[in-house]
């Protein structure tokens, strides 16, 4: 029978925070194949197969049911699919990897404080220029849904691969949707967050894929693991 698969971030600060969280619960992660290996073991849980992967790969694998459990950011899974809650459940919010997905505009827009203002500005801009108001983001799905919810009709999303906060100054977009932890990067780029412009308060979560191939053994292993992690 297949063992329980648990995917964890493979590098960077998130990996360190995951290891620290596990260590706090008395669980030691041992990477096989050295520092650059992509598999690991968890002391005391021989029937748990650990996979190390990027946060976005973990999100995709959870949504596709390719792994049983995984730790990744809520923003990543919510952006990747619209029916997240039917494909996975959030077992625990881990208190690290915090990042808010927010709507920000140039700080000189002193006439814009709320999403209702943004909706008006978008309509004005299309009427005056014939072009839609542009919002740069890599969160196209979350942004589209949030704009629909706030009746912002005359906008267009510009896909931004990186350095989104520089888009207004570069003339690529009028506003942005991006992640922020302290707001310092937005402030440094002369941007401000709208009063009701927080789309998602995200953090790293332990998630359980609903679509994975669950059987009695994997369910029992997961229950033991959750007990050890004090989640049961």
């Amino acid at each position: 029978m297949a063992s329980l698969t648990l995917a964890l971030p493979s590098k960077g600060r998130l990996k360190e925070q995951c290891e620290a969280w596990l260590a706090k619960k008395g669980l030691v992660l041992r990477q096989t194949g050295g520092e650059r290996g992509y598999s690991a073991t968890l002391d005391g849980f021989d029937d748990v197969q650990i996979r190390l992967a990027s946060a976005s790969e973990i999100g995709k694998a959870l949504l596709a049911g390719e792994i049983h459990l995984g730790i990744t950011g809520e923003d990543i899974v919510r952006e990747a699919a619209s029916d997240v809650d039917t494909r996975l459940t959030i077992e625990a919010r881990l208190g690290f990897g915090r990042a808010d997905v927010v709507v920000a505009v140039p700080n000189g827009w002193i006439d814009v404080e709320t999403m209702a203002d943004l909706a008006e500005v978008a309509t004005d801009m299309r009427r005056q220029t014939g072009r839609r108001f542009r919002i740069a983001t890599k969160f196209t799905r979350l942004t589209a849904q949030f704009m629909r919810d706030h009746h912002v009709a005359d906008h267009r999303i510009v896909d931004s691969a990186g350095a989104t906060e520089g888009a207004p100054a570069a003339g690529i977009a009028e506003a942005i949707v991006d992640i922020t932890t302290s707001g310092a990067t937005l402030t440094a780029n002369a941007l401000k967050i709208l009063d009701d412009g927080v789309i998602l308060k995200s953090e790293s979560c332990l998630m359980r894929s609903t679509l994975a191939d669950w059987n009695d053994q994997t369910r029992a292993t997961a229950a033991q693991l959750f007990k050890r992690l004090e989640l049961a």
Binding site: P106, W109, I110, T123, R132, A144, R148, H151, A153, G171
Partner: protein
């Protein structure tokens, strides 16, 4: 034409062609940015995207109207050059959650550009759609007629007090934005406190207001990158403050506007059109020419297809989905809720201009038919 689509579709296609039109092949792959610019982000979840070898972001067409307008903008020699095209082919639209259908389906359509006589062109397109459905055995269809340009016309000419006249005319083409401004105008929308700066700005001449805003931005070290200029921010700040301190719109004016927005009578067509005339008159707008144009359309339809209007009703404002319809619009459906129309159509006089960034202009009206919905499917 695709032979796999069955006799009903072939009968519909023959009927559509009988109303005149040259067969034309339209592009399937379109620049994604152009489609999103024209149709809006609401269509994004329904689109299928592709990348070109040069990195260009493309999408598969989700309707026939945008590719037809794009094709016209590319091939027409002059503005308003008259052409009539019939077209057939697959369109690609992801099903909505819970919608059980294939992501690709065939549409057939008629698109007319540059007709000097708008009314006759409207009637021709409506009759083409009606006759195509009849030929396919679609009897007893419900007909919804709308006018996408009516509200804009009325509000632009209406006797409304400042600042509501400007605020309402700026959003007249948008059902949801119009409702939002109307709620503000009647004092039923969310109220907001205005700052001392806004109150000051509202009372200054535009030039003084702009220089005051410039001073504020400079003192606070705030920046204004991109396309929004100082004048936009200052003017909007003033307009917003004026709305916040303005006297609400008189209840009778607000009620008349609200009745127009929501006018959706299932009763007789002529009664609905007369009601529009009466309501517009209360706002100081004479709609007699408009009424006469609709009388002509309906008389012509009645002449050629006496049964077409038996189950017809009129709505003053197009449903939000028909963003680019700016004149007469219609849909034909087997069910009275119009959730799954077998044919839709309407006038889109500004689309060719928008698609070509103003390089080409053309009056335009067209319709599409969805054969997969024949027989109540």
């Amino acid at each position: 034409m695709n032979q796999e689509t069955g006799p009903k579709m072939q009968a519909a296609w023959a009927a559509l062609k009988a109303r005149g039109g040259q067969e034309v092949a339209l592009p399937t792959l379109l620049p994604a940015a152009l489609v999103l610019e024209l149709a809006g982000e609401d269509v994004r979840p329904r689109l299928y995207f592709a990348s070109g070898p040069d990195g260009a972001e493309l999408c598969l067409r989700a309707d026939l109207t945008i590719p037809a307008a794009l094709h016209y903008a590319q091939v027409a020699g002059t503005d308003h050059e008259p052409v009539a095209w019939v077209c057939e082919g697959k369109v690609f639209r992801a099903p909505k959650p819970g919608e059980d259908r294939a992501p690709e389906f065939v549409q057939i359509g008629l698109e007319r550009f540059g007709d000097a006589d708008r009314i006759e062109a409207d009637v021709t397109v409506f009759l083409a759609a009606w006759e195509a459905c009849q030929a396919a055995g679609e009897r007893d269809l419900y007909v919804r007629l709308c006018d996408g340009g009516l509200l804009s016309h009325i509000i632009a000419k209406a006797d409304l007090p400042s600042p509501w006249n400007q605020a309402l005319s700026e959003v007249a083409g948008h059902k949801s934005a119009l409702k939002r401004v109307l709620a503000q105008a009647t004092g039923t929308g969310p109220s907001r406190q205005i700052s001392a700066l806004e109150r000051t700005i509202a009372e200054l001449e535009p030039e003084r207001a702009r220089s005051t805003v410039a001073e504020v931005l400079s003192l606070a070290n705030l920046s204004l990158p991109g396309n929004r200029r100082l004048s936009h921010v200052a003017d909007r700040l003033a307009a917003r403050a004026k709305r916040a301190i303005a006297k609400p719109l008189a209840p009778e004016l607000a009620e008349t506007l609200s009745k127009l927005i929501h006018l959706s009578s299932q009763g007789s067509l002529t009664a609905s059109l007369d009601e529009c005339v009466t309501l517009a008159a209360k706002l100081g707008v004479d709609l007699m020419d408009w009424r006469q144009a609709w009388t002509l359309r309906l008389d012509r339809i009645q002449q050629e297809a006496p049964k077409a209007l038996a189950r017809a009703h009129f709505e003053a404002l197009s449903p939000e989905a028909f963003d680019y319809y700016d004149g007469m619009a219609f849909d034909l459906a087997a069910e009275p809720n119009f959730a799954r129309p077998v044919a839709t159509g309407g006038r889109y006089d500004t689309l060719v201009g928008e698609i070509s960034s103003g390089a080409r202009q053309a009056r335009a009206v067209g319709c599409v038919i969805r054969p997969a919905r024949f027989g109540g499917q």
